[in-house]
Every structure is written in C-alpha cells, then in structure tokens.
C-alpha cells in the first residue's frame, strides 16, 4: 500500500493512493455560500465540476495556507470525484496492511480517522475517504438522483 502523506496543523495524515486519481496544483474554487467552513467550494477539473474539501479546516479548524506545497488531491468518492485541499502533500509512504496499527480509541464525530502508521518520521494517520463527509454534507454536495 502506498500512502500519500500530507499535513494538517502539525499532524501528518495519509490517504491510500488507490483512492487517488491525481495530485494537482490548487485550483481557484468558487465558494459555496452557507456551506460549512471546510467546504472550499467547487473547482473545474478536466471539464467536470468537482466539490473541494479543505482537509486542514476539517481536521484542525484552520484553513490550509495557500503555499506552493498545498495541493489539490483528487480522489474517488463512490463513483464521483472529490477534491481535497491538502497541506504539504509532497511525499508518499509505502507500507503494508500489517504495518498499520488500529486506533485504540474511536472518535464518533470523526469516523474517517483510520489506523496509524508509525515510521522513522513519526506517526501518520490514515484517512478513509468514504467516511470524510457527514451525511448532511454528502447529501448537499452529491444529491442523490441529482444531475450527473
């Protein structure tokens, strides 16, 4: 398994690259009024309108700074595409399933927190894309039976 490592606050997280379509430079987002703070807005990716989530804002409450190393990670969300704005998404970490240690605690409000990989550079927590959005937000961004 190959994890795409990024940072939120001073913590490091990883996304399974099997779920990643592409890592792109951050795109200009069209903001959505009255949406939660961590919904960065809509971006046009290869002719498709893709909702973008600011992962730093979701995980730490602070928006990702617009640096060169802040990148737009396009992931598969079911059969749709979701954009994740991730800070310092510049490296990968290879590991096997056995290296991942299950979380000893369970945070009900954050079902996307997965097992933890401990390597030489510290701890990397795996983020499960499928659990990233609460039902209400998911319904808002990907309305069932909606267009496309």
């Amino acid at each position: 398994m190959l994890l795409l490592v990024f940072q939120a606050g001073n913590q490091r997280f990883g996304i399974d690259t099997a779920e990643v379509i592409e890592v792109a430079p951050p795109l200009v987002c069209r903001t959505l009024p009255r949406a939660p703070a961590y919904v960065a807005g809509l971006a046009a990716y290869r002719g498709e309108t893709v909702p973008v989530i600011d992962v730093s804002a979701l995980l730490t409450g602070t928006s990702a700074p617009l640096l060169m190393s802040t990148r737009l990670v396009l992931v598969r969300y079911g059969d749709r595409i979701l954009g994740l704005l991730a800070e310092r998404a510049v490296e990968t970490a290879a590991c096997s399933e056995a290296d991942l240690q299950a979380m000893p605690v369970r945070v009900e409000a954050a079902p996307y927190l997965g097992p933890v990989l401990v390597n030489g550079a510290g701890m990397i927590q795996k983020i499960t894309v499928a659990g990233l959005l609460p039902a209400a937000v998911r319904e808002m961004l990907f309305p069932a039976g909606g267009a496309a």
Binding site: A18, V23, M68
Partner: protein, 662 residues
C-alpha cells in the same frame, strides 16, 4: 510395461482383461462338462453291460437244465428229452448271436458228441458253465458294473454279476444231487454229506451275502423315481428268495430227495425272478442317472455361457460408457489447451456432454471430469476477461506514465535553462565584486596617499582638494556599482523563484507517477523506485534553491551595508571637502578626518569579502544544481525505458489473452 499399456485405448484393455478372465472360466466349464460326460459314459457302458449279461444268464440256466436232463437221459429217463432239446436250441441261438466263437465251438462239440458216461457229462457241462460264468464276470468288470460309483447300483451290480449266479449254481448242484438220489432210489452217506455241505454253503454263505447286498442296495436307494420302484419291486422278491433258499437248505438237511427237488425248483425260480427284476431295476437306475447327468450338463453349459454372455455385455456397456465421454473430454481438454475456447464452449453444448452435465448426483468419474472441465472453461473465460480488463488498465497507466515522463523531461530542461541563467548571473555578480574590490584597492591607495599628503602639510592643500574630489567621484562610482550588484541579486531572486516552482512541479509529477506506478501493481515495480528517486532530486533542488536564496539575501544585506558604508564615506568626503574648502578647521582636523576613513574602508572591505565568498558559494551551489539536473535527466531516461518495458509487457499480455479468445 507402462509404455506398452499407454499405446492402447482403454476399451482394448478392458476387452483384453475380460478375455483373460473368460479363459479360465471356459476351461472350468470344459472340465465340468467333461466330468458329466464321463459319468454319462460310465452309466451307458454299465447299461450296455446289463444288456449283454442277460443272454449269458439265460445260457447258464439252460446249460444247468441241459446238464440235468442229459444226466437223466444217460440214466435211461427220457421223459425230459423234449425239454432238453428246447434248452439246447435256446443255447444254440443265444451263442450264435453272442460273438463268443470259442465257447460256441465247445458247445457244438458237446452237442455233436454227447458224453456216454455221467461223469464225463458232468465234467463237460461244468467246464462250459465255468466258462460262461467267467465270461459274465468279465463282462461285469469290463462294463464297470462292479465299480459303480453309487451305493445302490453298486450292490445291485454285485448281486447281479457275482452273488446270484453263484448261488444259482449251488442250487443247481443240489438239484443234480437230488436227481441222482431219486434215480438210485437210495441216499448214500456220501450224498447225505454233500447235501449238508450245499445247505451250509447256501445258509451261511450265499444267503447272508445276497441279503447283505440286497438290503444295502435298498437302504441306499432314494425314495423317488427309480429308487422308489427298486424298493417296491425288489424288496418282496428278495424276502421271498430268502424264504425259498432257507426252505431249500432245510430240505437238503432233511435229505428227502423228493422234497429237495421241489424246493430246489422253487428256489431257482425265485432266484431267476430276483435276478431279472434286479437287472431291470439296475437299468432304470442307470437310465435315471444318465438323464439326470445330461440335464445337469446342459444346465451347467447354459449357465456358464449365459454368465459369460452377461459379463461380455456388461463389459461392452462399461467400455462404451467410459470411452465415449472420455473422447469428448480429451477433445475438450485439447481445445482448452490449444486456446480454442470457442470450440470448447461449442463442444460443451453438444448432446452427450449436455446430458452428462444435466445428470446431478452422478458419482461416475467421467461425469465428474466433464463437470470439472465445464467449470474450468467457465472460470478460464472469467479469468481471461479479467486479465484483458487489467491489461487495458495497465496499458492506460503506462501511457499516462509515459506522458508524465515527457512532461517531466520538459520541466527538467526548463530547470536546466534556469540553472544556466543563474550561473551566468552569478558570474556577472562575481565579476562586479572583483571590479568593486579593485576600485576599493584604488580608493585605499588614494586614501593612503591622501593621508600622506595631509601629513605633508598645508602646501599640499590644493592637491588634497583635488584628491578629495577624485575620492568623492570614486565613492559615487562605488555606490553605482553596488546598486548594480543589488539589481543582479534581485535577478537571482527571480530565477531562484523559477527554480523553486520547477522543483515543486517535479515533485507533483513524481507524486502522480508514484500513484500510477502503485496502481499498475507489481509489473511496475521499477517505477515507484524511479519516482521516489526523482522526488528526492526535486527535494534536493528545492533545498539548493533555498540555500541560494538565503545566500543571495545575505549578499544583499552585505551590499546594503556596503552602500551604507559608502554613503557614510561619501558624506565624510563631502565634509572633508567642506573642511578643505573652508581650511578654517585646520589641517589637524583634516588629518583626523582622513584617519577616520580607515575603519570605514575596513567595513567596506569586509563587505567585499563577504560578497566574494557569497558569489563563490553561489557558483558551487549552481554546480550542485547542474549535477542534480543531470541526474534527474538520467533518471528520466531510465524511467522512460521502464515505461517502454511495461508497455511491451502489457502488449505481450494482451496478445497472450487474445490468443485464448479465438
């Protein structure tokens, strides 16, 4: 042996095995039939023996009659002449058809020349009787009558061949003696003794033996068919014969000639009847045995042949049930092995195979094999479809990777161009700094001269003044040069920003390459290594760019300090110039001022040193940067070759899969 067996189809081998098994069974059947045949043959022989015994028996009886009547005729009693002639004729007829020329010749001799004396008559008849008895015994032996395998017929044969004829002989001897006694009208002591001897012989020898044989035979006979008839017919005759024989023996002991004669005739008749009945019963026993054995033989033969026929049919059916589906299975397996899946699927649709597949719960291995091959073909289909899809995906990934590599090569070239630009710029900076150093040396020298001049005296004031002006001009030139340096440094800053952007782009591309390589799986194992390597180089580039940025900032700081120093120096110069112009402050002040220039020069000099060092470090960093770019380019070439290999492998895989979907 294995190789030899492998040369023949299974049906042939089954046939060979059944043939091998049928050989001993056939042999056994032949033995059984031969055994039955031998039993039947023996019984037939015995049957024919009884047929031959009858005339001999009659000849013996007639001979005894003829002897007795011949004796009476010799003694002058001719009452029995007609009876004698009849007996003689019967003997003639019997001997004529009996096929015993020696015996017939001796009888003809007796007939042609009848003996004149009673003793001769007795001797001649006894000889003939003995020959006939001998013949009868030989007949019994030859036809195996005395060796019969069954108890009832064995004892009956014993009775007929051995015991009864001898007993009859003894009875006849008693009758002859009674005749003699009747003719002589008296009974001599010698004759009385012979009567007692005959009676003893009958009583204690023949009677028990006949009884023993007859009763054993009756006991051994079965209670059905021929055995039942034997019991019904022979038992009363046997008991009557015993009674008559006992009566005869009693009469002989009583020694009354008339009594003896009558009892003898009765006993002889009872014996005759017993003999005839026994022979008849013996025949019916033998006939029953022959028919029983024939029936058994037919039964055994029929059963054996039927068993072999059934075994043959079953073997043929089994052979068919194996060889026909096996042929289908072999063709199926050959189709699958050769990659003709379409042909294999068509074959799975044919009648025989469909029937086999439709039969659930079969435990016949052939059915199981056909089902397994059907499942295997279906699974192979699914697998091939999956492999085809996976191949397509990998090919897509490979194409994307190749595109990413091309893009990366472009950015690396861009980076190399930027690097060259930086290099040129830093060389220019170096040249500017060199120039600055030279100017500074000049300024220093002029300052020293100025000091000397100042020390020289007021007379040199004009000279000092002009020198001051040139110093001022040099300071201004220095300031202008420093501005140029600051300008160049800004250029370096822009280039550094460009390099950082390129490094960032390279990092992004290598990330995507690593993701694609992960998606391509094990076949792209080389990619991920190269992707990580490129990312490492990009990071190094970024670090080097950061270093350069820091150095340039330091250099700019130094330049700013230099400018400040030069400004201070210029201000000093202006002040000096004013002082010189005024001359009111006095020469000492001028000298002090001039002396104050020393530390300022020192500061400027230090700035110059820093700049020079900075430029050298920039050049060194640029060399590192160029090396990194070169390595990046090499890695990219390797990356591209790996991508081409992947493409070739995928093409091979797709071709291989395509071969199966014919």
């Amino acid at each position: 042996m294995k190789a030899l067996l492998a040369r023949f189809p299974i049906a042939y081998k089954l046939f060979a095995a059944s043939t091998v098994f049928s050989a001993p069974i056939t042999l056994l059947l032949i033995f059984v039939v031969a055994q039955f045949n031998s039993g039947i043959h023996t019984a037939r022989m015995e049957f024919e023996g009884t047929l031959r015994l009858e005339p001999l028996h009659r000849i013996a009886a007639d001979l005894r009659l003829h002897q007795r009547l011949s004796y009476l005729r010799l003694k002058g009693d001719t009452r029995g002449e007609t009876q004698r002639e009849e007996a003689a004729r019967r003997i003639d007829q019997a001997l004529a058809g009996a096929g015993v020329p020696d015996l017939a010749a001796r009888w003809r001799q007796l007939r042609a020349a009848p003996p004149a004396a009673p003793a001769e008559n007795e001797a001649a008849h006894r000889q003939l009787s003995a020959a006939v008895a001998q013949l009868a015994r030989e007949q019994g032996n030859a036809s195996a009558l005395v060796l019969d395998p069954e108890l009832a017929s064995y004892y009956l044969g014993q009775l007929v061949v051995v015991l009864l004829p001898q007993a009859q002989e003894t009875i006849a001897d008693g009758q002859l003696l009674a005749n003699q006694a009747a003719l002589d009208q008296r009974l001599t002591a010698r004759e009385a003794v012979r009567f007692v001897v005959y009676a003893d012989a009958l009583d204690s020898n023949w009677l028990p033996e006949v009884r023993e044989a007859g009763e054993t035979s009756l006991r051994a006979a079965g209670s059905q068919g021929a055995g039942r008839s034997l019991k019904l017919n022979v038992a009363p005759l046997l008991s009557r014969y015993q009674t008559e024989l006992a009566g005869y023996a009693e009469a002989m002991r009583g020694a009354s000639a008339a009594d003896v004669s009558g009892a003898g005739a009765r006993a002889a008749q009872a014996g005759d009847e017993l003999w005839s009945t026994s022979v008849a019963e013996l025949r019916s026993l033998l006939e029953a045995r022959i028919s029983h054995l024939s029936w058994m033989r037919s039964g055994a033969l029929l059963l054996g042949l039927l068993a072999m026929l059934v075994a043959g049919t079953v073997q043929t059916l089994v052979s068919f049930s194996i060889s026909r589906p096996l042929g289908e299975v072999v063709s199926l397996a050959a189709d699958v092995a050769a990659g003709r899946l379409k042909a294999a699927r068509a074959r799975l649709q044919n009648q025989t195979v469909r029937e086999m597949l439709a039969f659930h719960g079969a435990r016949d291995e052939m059915y199981l094999v056909v089902r397994a091959i059907s499942d295997m073909t279906a699974n192979l289909d699914t697998l091939l479809a999956q492999v085809g899809r996976a191949g397509g995906q990998v090919a897509l990934s490979a194409t994307r990777i190749a595109a990413a590599v091309r893009q990366m090569e472009g950015t690396v070239s861009e980076q190399a161009a930027s690097t060259n630009q930086v290099n040129a710029t830093s060389k220019e900076i170096f040249a500017s700094v060199q120039e600055l150093a030279r100017t500074m040396a000049q300024v220093s020298r002029v300052a020293l001269e100025a000091t000397a001049s100042a020390s020289g005296g007021i007379s040199n004031l004009d000279q000092i003044h002009s020198t001051m002006r040139s110093l001022l001009a040099a300071g201004e030139a220095l300031s202008a040069t420093l501005d140029t340096v600051a300008e160049k440094a800004r250029n370096v800053d822009e280039v550094i920003t460009a390099i950082t952007r390129v490094a960032n782009r390279t990092n992004l591309l290598s990330l995507n390459a690593a993701i694609e390589a992960e998606r391509a799986g094990d076949s792209a194992g080389g990619f991920s290594v190269v992707a990580i390597e490129i990312r490492r180089l990009a990071d190094q580039t970024a670090v080097a760019a950061l270093d350069i940025e820091k150095l340039v900032q330091e250099m700019q700081g130094a330049v700013r300090e230099g400018v400040a120093g030069v400004d201070r120096y210029t201000a000093g110069m202006r002040a000096s110039s004013g002082a010189v112009d005024a001359l009111s402050e006095g020469l000492g002040l001028v000298i002090d001022k001039t002396r104050n220039l020393g530390p300022a020069f020192e500061t400027v000099n230090q700035g110059m040193q820093l700049q020079s060092q900075g430029a050298g470090q920039i050049a060194e960093s640029m060399t590192h940067l160029r090396d990194a770019a070169q390595q990046t380019r090499e890695s990219l070439a390797e990356f591209r070759s790996v991508a081409e290999h992947l493409h070739e492998a995928v093409d091979g895989l797709v071709a291989e899969v395509g071969r199966f979907s014919e």
